[in-house]
């Protein structure tokens, strides 16, 4: 390989890793929810779309910097998730498995169609001057918003780890994931914990939406694509396995990036799907997990 080919390879790799970081953020939210409640959230991408549209609306009406929208999108996402778990999903009782799939599918349709009613079907984007800036390191160009997104992902996931392993709430969450009945007997209010966990998962999706907005355009059904990405990430890493979700996200980003560059850009979305199907068939416990791990 000559030096331009090497640079191109690293360029593609870095691009893939940074995009993968965002996938990791989306997948972590989904995996957290699955790990604690065994619920597959089919509306996950639509929560991400909410984050994107909040950013879009704040920018268009008040000219607020997209990254400041985090202060609105993250708490709003948390509240939305909390309410949905508390007042919808928790009512499903022993029908949780199949019921939550249908309920979240319905929620996703409600969200995407409400966005369609409020914002129209046209793809929209925001123009911030620094969005096109790049940062050069040893011949490899990195777009600034992608770098910020990568850093945001690291901060969010580190924060989640601190919460899970350094706080009383984190202990309660882990206990609920391992044995809800036992946790309840120890005085943990599991219904509240589950609502908090769903809120956290949705907040993660909304944060990812905010971080993506300066990079991409958005449209009401954008979430569908990201729900699939989140599924791929969690299955690659093992359903309910949080470190797995991070690695799964990075793997997906790199597979897509390398595939698009070296094989064909048209099939960009297919590489992840094929990896996903292979892992489903050969190692349903995920690439790295032993069995389905708890949080």
């Amino acid at each position: 390989m000559d030096s331009t080919a090497v640079t191109a390879f690293f360029q593609t790799l870095v691009q893939g890793l940074l995009t993968g970081g965002l996938y990791a953020l989306i997948g972590t939210g989904l995996s957290l929810i699955f790990g604690v409640m065994r619920v597959i959230n089919f509306a996950h991408g639509d929560f991400l779309a909410i984050g994107m549209f909040i950013t879009l609306a704040l920018f268009k009406t008040f000219n607020i910097d997209p990254y400041l929208s985090l202060l609105v999108a993250a708490p709003l996402g948390f509240g939305l998730g909390y309410v949905i778990q508390r007042f919808v999903l928790s009512r499903l009782g022993d029908r949780l498995g199949e019921g939550s799939m249908l309920a979240t599918l319905g929620l996703g349709l409600i969200i995407s169609n409400s966005l369609l009613l409020s914002f129209g079907a046209q793809p929209q984007s925001i123009n911030v001057p620094y969005a096109i800036n790049t940062f050069k390191m040893g011949g490899v160009q990195v777009s600034i918003p992608l770098l910020i997104a990568g850093l945001g992902t690291v901060v969010a996931i580190a924060g989640l780890n601190l919460l899970l392993y350094r706080t009383e709430l984190g202990r309660a969450i882990r206990a609920t994931a391992q044995n809800p009945l036992g946790a309840e007997l120890q005085g943990v209010k599991t219904t509240r914990i589950q609502a908090i966990v769903f809120g956290l998962g949705v907040a993660f999706a909304a944060i990812a939406g905010v971080l993506l907005m300066p990079l991409l355009y958005t449209f009401p059904t954008v979430g569908e694509n990201y729900t699939t990405k989140a599924f791929i990430v969690t299955v690659l890493g093992g359903l309910g396995n949080l470190p797995g979700a991070v690695v799964g996200g990075l793997v997906l980003g790199v597979i897509e990036s390398l595939g698009a560059f070296y094989v064909s850009n048209n099939y960009r979305d297919a590489y992840g799907l094929i990896a996903f199907l292979l892992v489903l068939l050969l190692r349903p416990e995920g690439l790295f997990g032993k069995t389905v791990k708890r949080v």
Binding site: V88, G97, I110, L116, N266, A270
Partner: protein
């Protein structure tokens, strides 16, 4: 896993069921004469009713939720259209067969696809199968968008078809009765399955896979059979849909919302009953049409609201509500 009643024995037809079926049949039979201005609505409703019934063989009787049925519909639509436009196909695939053989070939291809897909994925429990259906359908959609022979993102046109038994296949009246025939066929097959050994085996597998295995039933084999049947019927409907549309593109035909729509019609109507998917399809089509004027393209909103309400308050679907009301009336008397 699913919120379903235990294994159902085909009961003697109750008064309510007969009334419901006769009423529905009467409406469908007089529809083209009364509403000849709204034939498109009638045809698409019937086709989707047929898709929902076909979905239900796998989703209801075998209890395996698929969110990838659009792919099977697509296999039917593409095979039919490609056989009618042989110049699109490589020489060794061109055939002198009349184009409607495409419907049968599409059914066989869809069944084969289901056999491979089901054979590989039915070892996976619960959510994994659902996720795999989405992935398989998305891969097929990407192939359709990026290949030349499928017409790529622009899709395909249905050329002029020769008359079938002297009937013009592009006449809306003819298409209505074809769609009607498709629904009758799916109802008959569902009915036959329900009364057969296979029907009992499927319900046993749905309720308790280990128990079924102990009885000597091979759960994977049963599920694959149900999937193949469901796929073949869906592909048959897909070829009728292609004739009705005359032109289609992968972006509308193969998208996830079509798969979701088919599944939701059956689930909202009631997946463990025979009439459920039919009623769900009619109801959602009517709702969709009514709200189309209010919400324009956001008419799936009503699907979202309904599925949420049904999941929370009527886990056995609208037919489940009917049956419960019927039992209450029965005990009151």
């Amino acid at each position: 896993m699913t919120a379903v009643p235990a294994i159902t024995r085909p009961r003697a037809l109750t008064f309510g069921n007969v009334w419901l079926s006769v009423g529905l049949l009467a409406v469908l039979l007089i529809y083209p004469f009364v509403f000849d201005k709204a034939m498109n609505f009638g045809i698409s409703t019937l086709l989707f009713a047929g898709f929902a019934m076909s979905w239900n063989i796998l989703g209801g009787w075998a209890g395996q939720t698929s969110l990838g049925h659009a792919a099977l519909l697509g296999v039917g639509a593409y095979t039919m259209t490609l056989l009618a436009t042989p110049e699109r196909l490589p020489a060794f695939l061109q055939s002198p067969l009349a184009p409607w053989w495409g419907a049968l070939i599409g059914m066989v291809l869809a069944a084969l696809l289901a056999a491979v897909w089901g054979g590989l994925t039915f070892r996976l429990q619960g959510s994994y199968f659902v996720l795999s259906t989405i992935a398989v359908a998305l891969v097929i959609r990407l192939v359709a968008i990026n290949s030349d022979w499928t017409g790529g993102a622009e899709g395909l046109f249905m050329p002029d078809l020769p008359r079938l038994f002297g009937l013009d296949l592009f006449d809306r009246q003819v298409e209505y009765w074809l769609a009607f025939g498709f629904v009758v066929l799916t109802v008959l097959i569902t009915h036959l399955i329900r009364r057969s050994r296979m029907g009992y085996a499927l319900q046993a597998v749905r309720e308790d896979e280990d128990g079924a295995r102990a009885l000597g039933i091979d759960p994977t084999r049963m599920k694959v059979l149900a999937f193949m049947l469901s796929a073949a019927l869906t592909a048959l409907g897909g070829s009728l849909y292609a004739i009705y549309l005359q032109a289609f593109e992968p972006h509308t035909l193969l998208e996830l919302p079509i798969s979701v729509q088919i599944a939701l019609m059956a689930i909202i109507g009631g997946r463990t009953t025979i009439q459920g998917p039919l009623i769900g399809a009619v109801l959602l089509s009517v709702f969709g049409e009514v709200f189309r004027n209010v919400f324009s393209s956001a008419n799936l909103l009503i699907y979202g609201v309904l599925i949420l309400l049904v999941t929370l308050f009527a886990p056995a679907g609208i037919m489940g509500l009917f049956q419960r009301a019927g039992r209450k009336l029965g005990t009151a008397r």
